[in-house]
């Protein structure tokens, strides 16, 4: 837009009301640039349904996980406010400390918001309507902190209580803001409120029982990120608050990401002695992730799946980078969106009934897409010749087969997860954890390839073979419990068999007492051992001993244990084959790990280098296309300068660099190679060169140096 200003600068242009763009709906964003536009609507709907399901599930999960800690926290705040109102000798004598809950939340700061949100909601519901939460970044100085606390406490009450005074809501904050900011004001406000409340303010969302026991609901102030607060501000605030504690029943909640000793680092004894600090430990984020995976990923009810590599990326980001469950779920959401956006066949990724219906509605191009799927091709190859031809040519036949395949896929999932859990219960407590401690590790192994071909699986099975009876029975009992939850036919069969095995184990107890030991009849070679001194003979005898021990008749328990293991092994082999082996698995499994990685774990330096060494990648201009990694001489100046600097050593002579640059640019301008002016540095080229060099300096590829005049130092190596 043009301005009449002569100077350079930034100008604000407010958009005129008429020209406002129509905001696109979510759906139209989804449909734009979507493969196979026809089915995009259905896919969008499916995608949204799935996401809603996942979202509500995670929220419920979050609430469940937080419940215990929140309950104890609520108890604490209630207890504090009740002891305060006692008037016996001890409570009078005691210094009035501010009750403070130190909430240990772990370093996954992005997740804390959700916890605090539900915490303050619960507090408002069941303890006190006066809850304010503050963040460090909004409280640089004591004044700001005080202002935020006052605003939030007084405003929320205005909004919550006086719903019929809507008009006042708008004016009242302004009044407060202009007021002198001090706790005295808050005290007055509080007394005014509590005087009113026993008479029963309409619209107050507190049960009558709570109101009875608390004539004076506490004022709760939540410090979301204690570590980030300026210690001075916090100390002053606590000191001031302690002056008012007899009039204002304050309670603090400190959100701590690292360790509770932070409190002692931040607050001197004179301040921390004003607080009555109690510690609350929240669930560790790895446990949290484990539950999320258990409920969202290892569930046949959610039909969208991630393949091994994508799982690996998401779990890697979690373990190596941020410990954030929220980011994990965001990653899942991204994969979900990408899958439904880029895979037209995702119309079949839904509940069985709907999927079967959608198969009948498949368009011709989509049927061809099915024929192109690698998993389907593998399936076709296994069929007889006539069937192969039918599948490739007859659309209606293909649809029928697809329906069957979809049914099989659903069955596969229904059996997969119970068996996975069984295998996990059996192997998760083995020494050295050959198949991992967490179920996600086992899941990754199973996703990658046939788990029974894995060496670790075999060693795990060997270890299971050595389990004592008590352990074995209790583990099998747990497996029974897992299988009981499953409704599929095959799992029910397996359950019956497993229960029979268990019954046999239990019978053993009574049976072993009856049968006499027959082992004594085997001739012991140890007796003969003493006579022989020959080394070869000795070796032979030892080998024999070993043989005979192996051949030794197994005890009934060992027999049964082997039987049980074989049974488990068979279950694993028939149900835990990797998803790639299932025809049409592409419908449900998202597999583009590179996309997910690019979105979640950005690599700015790699992108910059890609842009500089291959400008076509971002600019998509055909004249920039080049093979063998060279940069065309029509590329932007900075790319040429970058390319030239790669050929230099640690120190770059600026003049040489300029000369080389000028030659390349002249060639691009189509100047005659033999003419006099060719490669000559004119003012414009000089200026362009300087600009490119300073841009490179800004990007951190070179820096000025005092080692040599007219030289700059290179800062990066390799990475062409």
């Amino acid at each position: 837009m043009a301005t009449s200003s002569v100077s350079k600068g930034c100008f604000v242009f407010k958009p005129s009301a008429k020209k406002k763009k129509k905001t696109l709906s979510l759906e139209s964003y989804f449909v734009q640039g979507c493969e196979d536009a026809e089915s995009s609507e259905i896919r969008f709907r499916l995608c949204q349904e799935l996401w809603d399901e996942i979202k509500t599930d995670t929220e419920v999960l979050q609430d469940e996980l937080n419940r215990t800690i929140l309950d104890s926290l609520l108890d604490f705040t209630r207890k504090c406010s009740s002891t305060r109102q006692n008037s016996d000798w001890t409570s009078q004598m005691r210094a009035s400390e501010i009750p403070t809950a130190a909430l240990m939340l772990g370093v996954n700061v992005p997740d804390h918001d959700m916890t605090f949100q539900s915490l303050s909601d619960m507090l408002k519901q069941s303890v006190s309507p006066h809850v304010a939460s503050v963040q460090a970044k909004e409280c640089g100085a004591l004044k700001h902190l005080m202002k935020k606390v006052l605003e939030r406490l007084m405003d929320t009450v205005v909004v919550v209580d006086d719903e019929d005074e809507e008009e006042n809501v708008e004016t009242s904050p302004r009044v407060h803001r202009s007021m002198h900011c001090s706790l005295g004001i808050l005290c007055d406000w509080y007394t005014a409120r509590t005087k009113k409340s026993p008479t029963g303010t309409p619209g107050k969302k507190r049960s009558s029982q709570v109101r009875d026991e608390q004539q004076q609901p506490p004022v709760v102030i939540i410090f979301k990120d204690l570590e980030a607060f300026n210690p001075r501000v916090l100390q002053d605030f606590i000191l001031i608050c302690s002056q008012y504690i007899d009039r204002l029943p304050l309670t603090f909640i400190f959100g701590i990401a690292t360790s509770p000793s932070t409190i002692q680092h931040m607050l001197p004894h004179s301040v921390s002695s004003l607080l009555c600090i109690e510690l609350f430990q929240s669930l560790s984020c790895t446990q949290h992730l484990a539950t999320v995976i258990d409920k969202l990923i290892l569930a046949s009810r959610i039909h969208f799946k991630l393949n091994g590599k994508v799982m690996q990326v998401l779990i890697g980001v979690f373990l190596y980078h941020d410990f954030s469950v929220r980011n994990f779920i965001k990653g899942l959401q991204l994969a979900l969106l990408e899958h439904f956006h880029s895979q037209p066949l995702s119309v079949l990724c839904c509940k069985k009934k709907q999927a079967l219906f959608n198969v009948t509605q498949l368009s011709k191009p989509n049927l061809d897409r099915i024929r192109q799927l690698p998993s389907f091709k593998r399936y076709v190859e296994k069929q007889e010749a006539q069937e192969q031809v039918n599948l490739m040519t007859d659309d209606s036949h293909l649809k029928e087969v697809c329906q069957q395949l979809i049914k099989d896929l659903h069955k596969y999932h229904k059996n997969y997860y119970p068996i996975l859990r069984c295998l996990h219960t059996l192997t998760s407590s083995l020494p050295r954890y050959p198949l991992g401690k967490q179920i996600r590790e086992l899941y990754l192994i199973c996703l990658a390839k046939n788990v029974w071909e894995n060496e670790d699986y075999q060693s795990a099975m060997k270890l299971v073979k050595m389990l004592a009876k008590g352990e074995m029975v209790s583990l099998l009992q747990k497996c029974v419990e897992i299988l009981q939850l499953s409704k599929s036919k095959k799992m029910k069969n397996a359950l019956v068999q497993l229960e029979e095995l268990l019954a046999k184990f239990k019978q053993l107890d009574t049976a072993t007492e009856m049968t006499p030991t027959v082992e004594a009849s085997i001739p012991s070679p140890i007796k003969n051992l003493q006579k022989k001194t020959d080394l070869f003979q000795l070796q032979k005898t030892l080998l024999e001993m070993n043989e005979s021990r192996r051949a030794k008749r197994l005890s009934p328990f060992e027999n049964l244990r082997n039987e049980a293991l074989e049974f488990i092994d068979n279950l694993v082999k028939s149900h835990l084959s990797p998803p790639e082996s299932q025809p049409l698995y592409e419908v449900c499994y998202y597999s583009s790990s590179a996309t997910v990685r690019r979105h979640l774990n950005a690599t700015p330096r790699t992108s910059i280098q890609a842009a500089l060494s291959n400008p076509y990648y971002y600019l998509q201009n055909d004249s920039l296309k080049s093979e063998d990694g060279t940069v065309s001489n029509t590329a932007p100046d900075i790319c040429i300068a970058y390319k030239l600097h790669l050929e230099c050593g640690r120190l770059i002579n600026l003049y040489d660099w300029l000369e080389a640059y000028s030659t390349v640019v002249s060639a691009a301008e189509g100047n005659d190679q033999d003419s006099e002016n060719f490669g000559k540095v004119d003012e414009v080229k000089h200026a362009r060169f300087i600009r490119a060099v300073s841009a490179l300096e800004f990007l951190g590829f070179i820096k000025s140096t005092k080692q040599k005049t007219d030289h700059v130092a290179r800062l990066t190596w390799g990475g062409c």
Binding site: K79, C80, T83, W89, T90, M93, R94, A95, E97, P99, T100, A102, M104, G106, V107, V109, S182, D225, E227, A228, R232, D236, L239, I240, Q243, A257, T258, S259, P260, S261, T262, I263, Q264, H265, H269, S270, S272, S273, L275, C276, I277, E278, L279, S284, C285, T286, V317, F318, L319, Y320, H321, D322, F323, N601, A602, T603, P604, R605, T606
Partner: protein, 382 residues
Amino acid sequence: MFLLDYKKLNEYRSEALDSLVPVIDVCLGLKSYIYPHQYSYPSIFIYGHRASGKSHVMHVLMKELEVREISTPFHCLDTDASLLSALLRLQELVEDNVTVILLSEIAWDKFRPNTGCFEPLLLHFPDYSKSELQQILSQNVHPSYSAGFYSAYINILLGVFYSVCRDLRELRHLAALNFSKFCEPLAEGKVKETDTHKLWKHIEPHLKKAMQTVYLREVSSLQWEQMQQMEEEEAGALRGLSAHTHVELPYYSKFLLIAAYLASYNPARTDKRFFLKHHGKIRKTNFLKKNEKTSNHLLGPKPFPLDRLLAIFYSVVDSRVAPTASIFSQISSLVTLQLLAQVSHDDQLDAPKYKCAVSLDFICAIARTVNFDIVKYLYDFL
């Protein structure tokens, strides 16, 4: 800071005042500076340690004199010196009968502006002596016990705590927390009220424990009271605040922290020796400079630039790590968690400098979880 306005003053009742405050002399002295009907001294500076009765005296005085007060705590040391000088002469400025009373735990010398100012009247509230403390604390007799018994208890309490704490407020708090334990043998009928020695034997270890826990706020007062009701073994399970030092960190954050620690405590010139595979021969005498050795940990962490941190990080981490955005964001997360401290100004985007803010024990615990032998890489322990 209190501003007194004498216009509202109706009558002056001094006799009631005397009976209320333990430090009567000071009060009387103070009263003599404040005149209701004529201009009083413009500013008074009162200093003394915590809980030496400053605010209490003021509070009672204000009540008695029925004067209007405005109070705002603030950091005089931070605020502009001109504000302080203005306050000290507020009476002249507003042309009214106003007295500014400054309360502080710090002596006046620390506040006096360089430019000079109107000198306020200095009043020092000395710390209470042991016998004074005894006298004051004994006033709060538990209603169901005799004064002599309570006084004996206070005597024992002071015997344990007087060497570490002279804060009246804190002592009163501790007295309240531990009194029930003191009365225990009495309630069980084992000891008579007068048998001070036996009572002392019973309570002394308990008070010693209190000194290490509840006094330091390792456990809260509420927890302490609960612990008294619990059995001994159960109570032992309760861990103090500083016992929880374990911090769970993402894998790369651990290595970033280790790299930061190494960068903070090793001289930069030794990096070549520690992190280069073929560092060539480095002369030992030259490498181990005497004065530098073992002193790094005593001197505390040194600042280091971001480049050095990343160079060490890529060298200590066992796999190839792409320089992703999340590596950089982890550095700033470590700063907000106060495990690293940014030394340079926030605005400095180019080559920011950091310091590692964790202890050796902490970093050793972190290094152990990733099987990294950090001691081998520390110059001080070579």
